[in-house]
């Protein structure tokens, strides 16, 4: 089956899109109204409270606990450089409303791209088919919750002409080649989007937000003595255009080049169980994947997570505290308000080794009789919200990095990981280590690459025996969580920490047999 390339849809988008009727603010040179609560959908699309009330009443016309409307207008852009030329420009416009009827843990969902009353009522009627009872009343008035502003937007991407963005990529290209004569190819890209949302709920909440996201990346191939290695690095998050300075460009180029060059000396570690030290920052993806998903409340209310019987119990050593946080400034997972209208907040998941909270949306919060934690998130209006992580991190402890590595004895040190996956019910996970080091006799030695590490999330958490005081967050913008096929930006962080034992999937059996 042939479709419009989804990759291009996602990467892409429009500096300008179809300006005249739909996108009045995107005409050349005009800056956006960048206030998060500026009645945008009312002003631009005529979505007033009377109409919202009518749609919600339709969604609850056959009963249900509550209903909500999720309006979205997203403009995204992608510029790409290849062979020294910025020669790719892709764009996408996403506009529509998703209408949800909820009864207990059941969901009826309809959506439409047309913000006409007729189309929206039809989507509401689809959602209403979930129930077959008497109508549920809708709140007569709507109030706006107090929300923070964790990603102020001063220079909106859509107000910046493409010709201003082009030099960023040209500079990355030049810097990468200047950093080493061994660089053979450079690809660079700048992806950014501005999403406007409005959530209206039948119990009387109305919330709006404007959410910037994006990242700039370099992907390089290096050649040495007939061998090639590749590397990728990006920086971004919920930033506006002012973030992408020379310093950021420098960091991206330098990290991509250095990471590629070091791989020429990399070896495959022995296969089997061994101590693993997780370096700070990007390795926090393990925390997200191997541990955080198991704490998402939908898996627990369905009793399919290994953590479903662990609330209030010890799951880790007392020095371990894990937080899922919407309130970090400018990180990829930060949220002023979630996609159900709950203000962004900070949630302690594990406090001093005790599991204290799951990650909730409205449905699971009601199930457990707790307040929603503001984790109801969705990819876009075509999807209903589910509990999702935001910025998930573990606080540092008192050990020094040197002591953590020394304590490992013989094992591996993980610097960069990707392609993680977890089996929620078993808790088993696997991660691809794109870069790391051997640890021999308590010291970092040869670089390693291209191996999986595997283990069991809850066991790994219980087996973290030491942590340093160097918590570092992931400042990339390319981190996407893909739960249930819905991509949402996330961030994560970890201090250097020692896991007593994980399986390392090399090609060499211990002792050298291959």
């Amino acid at each position: 089956m042939k479709t419009i390339p989804r990759r291009k849809f996602i990467q892409s988008t429009a500096m300008a899109g179809g300006a005249l009727l739909l996108l009045p603010e995107l005409q050349a040179g005009r800056l956006l109204d960048i206030q998060p609560s500026g009645n945008y959908f009312m002003k631009e699309f005529g979505i007033d409270e009377t109409l919202c009330h009518k749609l919600l009443a339709k969604a609850l016309s056959r009963g249900g606990d509550y209903a909500d409307l999720y309006f979205e207008f997203t403009v995204s852009n992608y510029l790409g450089l290849e062979d020294a030329k910025v020669n790719q420009s892709y764009g996408d416009i996403s506009l529509g409303v998703g209408i949800r009827t909820v009864k207990g843990d059941q969901i009826g969902y309809g959506y439409t791209q047309e913000l006409t009353e007729e189309s929206m009522l039809s989507a509401a009627a689809t959602a209403a088919t979930l129930c077959d009872m008497n109508a549920t009343p809708v709140s007569i008035s709507f109030t706006r919750p107090k929300v923070g502003n964790y990603y102020p937007v001063a220079l909106d991407f859509n107000g910046i002409p493409a010709k201003v963005k082009l030099p960023l990529l040209q500079t990355i290209n030049q810097k990468c080649f200047a950093l080493s004569p061994e660089i053979a190819k450079v690809n660079a890209g700048f992806s950014n989007a501005v999403k406007r949302i409005m959530i209206v709920t039948s119990d009387g909440t109305i919330a709006e937000d404007i959410i910037p996201s994006g990242y700039i990346y370099a992907s390089v191939v290096a050649e040495r003595n007939g061998k090639r290695e590749q590397s990728f690095w990006n920086l971004g998050g919920r930033r506006d255009f002012s973030y992408y300075t020379d310093d950021v460009i420098n960091q991206v180029a330098t990290k991509a080049v250095n990471n590629a060059l070091i791989l020429f000396d990399a070896i495959q570690p022995p296969a089997g169980e061994m101590p693993v030290v997780l370096g700070p920052g990007v390795t926090g993806i393990l925390l997200h994947e191997a541990i955080g998903h198991g704490m998402e409340a939908d898996f627990n209310r369905k009793n399919i997570s290994t953590y479903s019987t662990m609330l209030g119990k010890k799951v880790a050593e007392p020095f371990i505290t894990i937080i899922d946080d919407a309130t970090n400034m400018n990180l990829a997972g930060s949220l002023n308000v979630d996609d159900e209208g709950t203000p962004g907040k900070k949630t302690m998941l594990v406090e001093n080794g005790i599991l204290t909270s799951y990650i909730h949306d409205r449905i699971s919060a009601k199930h457990y009789g707790v307040e929603p934690t503001g984790n109801g998130r969705r990819q876009d209006f075509q999807n209903y919200p589910i509990p999702r992580m935001r910025n998930t991190y573990m606080l540092g402890s008192s050990a020094s990095v040197e002591d953590v590595i020394k304590q490992a004895g013989n094992g591996i040190y993980v610097e960069n990981v990707s392609n993680g996956q977890v089996k929620i019910g078993e808790g088993d996970f696997a991660f691809y280590v794109s870069q790391g080091r051997l640890i021999e006799n308590g010291k970092l030695t040869s670089p390693i690459k291209d191996v999986n590490i595997m283990g069991n999330g809850p066991k790994m958490l219980a087996n973290i025996t030491m942590a340093a005081n160097d918590l570092e967050m992931y400042y990339g913008g390319a981190g996407q969580c893909g739960k249930n096929g819905q991509g949402v930006p996330v961030s994560f962080g970890l201090p250097t920490c020692l896991v007593k034992s994980l399986t390392v999937g090399g090609t060499q059996q211990k002792g050298g047999q291959s």
């Binding site: 479709t3 419009i4 739909l22 420009s89 996408d92 190819k185 290695e229 590749q230 691809y432 090609t507």
Partner: protein, 446 residues
């Protein structure tokens, strides 16, 4: 949704208008893709509907080419007044791009020779599917799974989803193509209570173009339960070198590591460990991979590719030798090579003669890989590493289920270890692969 009688004509008229507007606004050339999709999803859990979802979406994707400059954009808004602004802005964007002499529409001579075969991609019966029938399908699968899972069941989710899709593509230099298709997917996932806190989850979903090609709903639900029960007690064993069988349905997870390096983009960008292997043998004689776009009702079947080139059946790898790369128009120009086709349709590995059960009996100690977790394949070096889940056998006798284990190798070595191909191609996929048997694989565990 049934296909609207005059939909193609509406799309054609809109495409013509868009192309005229784009050319008037300054485009030398352009290509427009207009599509519409109707999706329905019904999911059951605990014998009640968990999710009912339904919607229609549409998209218009326009690419413009101006003096060796290029830009592409998509929009869901088909109103002409809005599209006018969309087109002029797109052209303004293209003009800002740097010149790239290779970025053009294909030479129209490559459009010629398209088959008119009816690939049977659209099931006329799908339009008659009622909400009640959809609910009944999901419930039947759930019932069968619950019954088979018995006391071990913690949770079962069963669902039916279907798609009706229609597209029209036209370029300013003579390509015109249209396609209609349907897709129906039914299945279940089950979570079971294992020892301690382990709750293994297995699944079985079947997708096909025609609903009548689905196996019985009872069989689907029962298989979902059986595949979950097969995970019970899964544990890692000591790291060992032994034969490994990649079960048919998942074999593409490992073989896909060969496809990216065969693409023109990877080759031209020096990210391919196969770039210098054209016409060279890198794998076992048992490794033959065909690309067949003409399979009736095939999930990857098509009459034209992304560039508008006519679909053709081809041998990508013959007996371990790289026979044809995946070269699209753009990278053919950059490489100075003839284009082949940049995309794949249905991939086929010709089946062998023996069943997996028979093969396992002869293998001694071996692991049948039934699922994967995580992992990656490095297209530049050929190194790959992937987590595996499966079953350990000894001389045909089941020993235990295995989990938390890993295989890693380099593709240039790994495919030489292919020693037999099963007789069981998995037909519910774009990758119709039989089970693949490898000897001497390091499986990492304890």
């Amino acid at each position: 949704m049934s296909f609207k009688k005059d939909q193609q004509q509406e799309f054609r008229e809109l495409a013509n208008w868009v192309i005229d507007q784009a050319k008037q606004a300054g485009a030398n050339d352009c290509r427009v893709n207009i599509s519409k999709r109707r999706s329905v999803e019904i999911n059951y859990r605990d014998r009640k509907p968990e999710v009912i979802k339904e919607a229609t979406t549409q998209g218009l994707y326009l690419e413009v080419f101006i003096n060796n400059r290029f830009a592409g954009r998509s929009t869901p808004d088909f109103r002409k007044l809005t599209l006018s602004g969309f087109i002029t802005d797109l052209i303004d964007n293209a003009l800002i791009m740097e010149e790239d002499p290779f970025r053009t529409l294909p030479d129209p001579k490559y459009y010629a020779g398209r088959s008119t075969t009816d690939l049977q991609l659209a099931d006329p019966a799908q339009a008659q599917l009622t909400p009640e029938e959809r609910h009944a399908m999901a419930k039947a699968v759930e019932d069968a799974c619950l019954q088979q899972g018995g006391s071990k069941v913690i949770s079962v989710e069963a669902g039916e989803s279907d798609d009706t899709y229609e597209e029209f593509i036209k370029s300013s230099n003579g390509f015109e193509g249209s396609a209609r298709s349907t897709y129906c997917n039914v299945g279940a996932s089950m979570t079971a209570q294992d020892e301690g806190d382990r709750r293994p989850a297995g699944y079985h979903y079947i997708g096909c173009r025609y609903r009548s090609d689905l196996p019985s709903l009872q069989e689907i639900g029962k298989t979902a339960a059986n595949r979950t029960l097969d995970l019970m007690g899964g544990k890692k064993i000591a790291t060992e070198t032994l034969p490994v069988i990649l079960e048919n349905r998942g074999a593409a997870r490992v073989l896909s590591g060969l496809l990216n390096p065969m693409s023109g983009g990877s080759i031209q960008q020096k990210r391919s460990f196969l770039a210098d292997k054209k016409d060279q043998t890198f794998g076992s004689k048992l490794l033959t991979v065909q690309d067949d776009p003409f399979l009736l009702r095939g999930l990857g079947s098509r009459l034209y590719d992304e560039d508008g080139f006519p679909a053709k059946k081809r041998d990508l790898i013959i007996e371990g030798r790289v026979n044809e790369f995946l070269i699209d128009w753009y990278y053919s120009r950059k490489l100075g090579w003839e284009p082949t086709s940049g995309g794949i349709s249905n991939l086929i590995i010709p089946p062998g003669t023996r069943s997996i059960d028979d093969i396992i009996k002869d293998l001694g100690r071996c692991i049948l890989v039934t699922d994967y977790i995580g992992g990656n394949s490095n297209s530049t070096t050929g190194d790959f590493s992937v987590g595996i889940i499966g079953k350990l056998f000894d001389k045909g006798q089941f020993v235990q289920n295995v989990a938390e284990m890993n295989i890693a190798d380099n593709h240039l070595k790994f495919w030489n270890k292919l020693v037999e191909v099963g007789n069981d191609p998995w037909i519910y996929s774009q990758a119709r692969f039989p089970s693949l048997v490898f000897d001497g694989v390091v499986v990492a565990g304890i």
